[in-house]
């Protein structure tokens, strides 16, 4: 085999590997969006590698990342879960804090303030409630500071492609996490006569919390398998 042929084969393989990585990240992020309660069809989520290549192929064997952007709307069930309960003190509660989501695969060797600012502007202009930015490299620390600065307008989350190659919630050792609605949360606290701070805690930066997009103050129910009790439920308060 000549040197040139060898290089070609290597290049093709690298391209294939890159394509496969993107496909896996694409599937995981679809599962993530679906698990959070947004509406996505099964066909969209369970796309095969061939279909994926066919859809986003740029012609020279590479995948066009900027075409991989997709959006989704929250399901009624999700809206209900995020809604604020009607109470005596608050007969007309505020609208639930959820809305359409936009997922973008950001290109580039380095993601700086400019990229992040542009994404935030995009989200605000197109009035997306949440945005997920997926990058292949780390985002600069200064760019990450944009996120809290624009938090009042839009909610930005970032993931690395490498973190999305496998869906962590499908792992055997990761128990099922279910987000409780505000009503369920108050029922739980009343049932056990607890203050919310007396619950065990989970951090916002926890991988599963990031996967589910948990916010400070929410409570998740964690259902584990137990050899003795069959199923064992515990609750964690997001801090």
């Amino acid at each position: 085999m000549s040197n040139e042929e060898d290089r070609e084969v290597k290049q093709r393989e690298a391209g294939n590997r890159e394509t496969a990585r993107l496909w896996r990240a694409w599937r995981t992020v679809h599962e993530l969006v679906q698990d959070r309660g947004y509406i996505l069809s099964e066909a969209e989520v369970k796309i095969s590698l061939e279909d994926f290549i066919h859809k986003f192929n740029s012609g020279d064997g590479n995948i066009e990342k900027n075409r991989m952007t997709f959006t989704a709307h929250p399901s009624d069930e999700m809206v209900a879960r995020y809604s604020n309960p009607v109470t005596d003190r608050d007969p007309k509660p505020a609208a639930p804090d959820v809305g359409p989501i936009k997922v973008k695969f950001e290109e580039g060797d380095s993601i700086g303030i400019k990229n992040m600012r542009k994404f935030a502007q995009e989200l605000t202009q197109e009035s997306f409630h949440t945005g997920i930015m997926i990058t292949s490299v780390n985002i600069t620390p200064a760019a990450l500071k944009i996120i809290p600065a624009v938090a009042s307008e839009t909610r930005i989350e970032t993931f690395l492609e490498a973190d999305l190659l496998v869906n962590i919630t499908h792992h055997e050792l990761v128990p099922k996490h279910v987000l409780l609605s505000k009503e369920e949360k108050s029922a739980l606290l009343q049932r056990y006569r607890l203050k919310e701070t007396q619950l065990p805690r989970i951090q916002v930066g926890d991988p599963v919390a990031r996967y589910l997009g948990l916010r400070r103050g929410q409570v998740v129910k964690i259902i584990r398998k137990s050899e003795t009790a069959g199923r064992y439920a515990s609750y964690r308060y997001t801090v």
Binding site: S110, K114, T140, K145, I146
Partner: protein, 308 residues
Amino acid sequence: MATSQKPKSILKKASYPATTTSKEDRDRDLALYHADLIQQRKDIELEILLATETLIDYPLATAPYDASNPAPADAQTFKYLLRPFQPSDYDALILERNINERCGYTLCANAPRKESGGGRWRMVGKYGKGKDFKVVDKKELEKWCSEACAMRALYVRVQLSETAAWERGERGENTVKIDLRDEPKSDGDTVVEGLEKLQLAGDDSVKKQDTAHLALERGDRGPAARIGSVDVKILEKEIQRVPEAPSLEDEDLTERLDTIHLGILEHVGRESRGQKFTSMGSEKKMAIKRHPQRRISDTLVGYDLTLI
């Protein structure tokens, strides 16, 4: 034996004023105070972020200005915006500028140098003296457009304060004054700067400095002292009677001196205490007489002083 009259307390009456605020009020004030600190910090961090965003696109002026002769306006804004920066924030700025294909020095409009070829390391100073020879990361070289710009940028970096801006306080002496390696070369600007340096209202700054030193000596540092959560009032103790010098002729005093050592003169040697001041009497008299001008209000303390 129940009497209507309350028994008189033998305890001392509290002479200090009772705290007027309730615990809730104090807790609330404390919480607000800390919330205020955090808010202050957040504000400064946002300010730094916005300054970084602005400075990415600098310099605004084009030719004939360049890095060695920046536009006065640009240089002025650059210095102004850089005040709250820490060196780490400055590094972040350099990184952001490089991402946007600009030289790391803010007042330079060129693109950074691109090192051709693979490999991570580069040799620097191959043709100079041996001590100049270095092997450096390629990334370090790709931050700047030239050696001169690297010098200029790092010249600014070392002048930045390591202290975080929210911990610097509002006192003038902590404001960072930044000089550029290559200041703008226009006369008007130099004159303005020279005027700024002139201390026309010198008294005010001196006073500020003195207050700062006093605060440091007292040990009240940081914003706690500034907003007055520590309320210290110093009152002069009033003395009615005329101060008089101590004298050993006074019978009363010698009597008291026999016992006083138990209390305050612990540091006086054991043997001198045993002598009951017979031999030392004259010495002490002399010691006191030697300072007749000293107005000693408290005889005992005065005695102690002269003894030492």
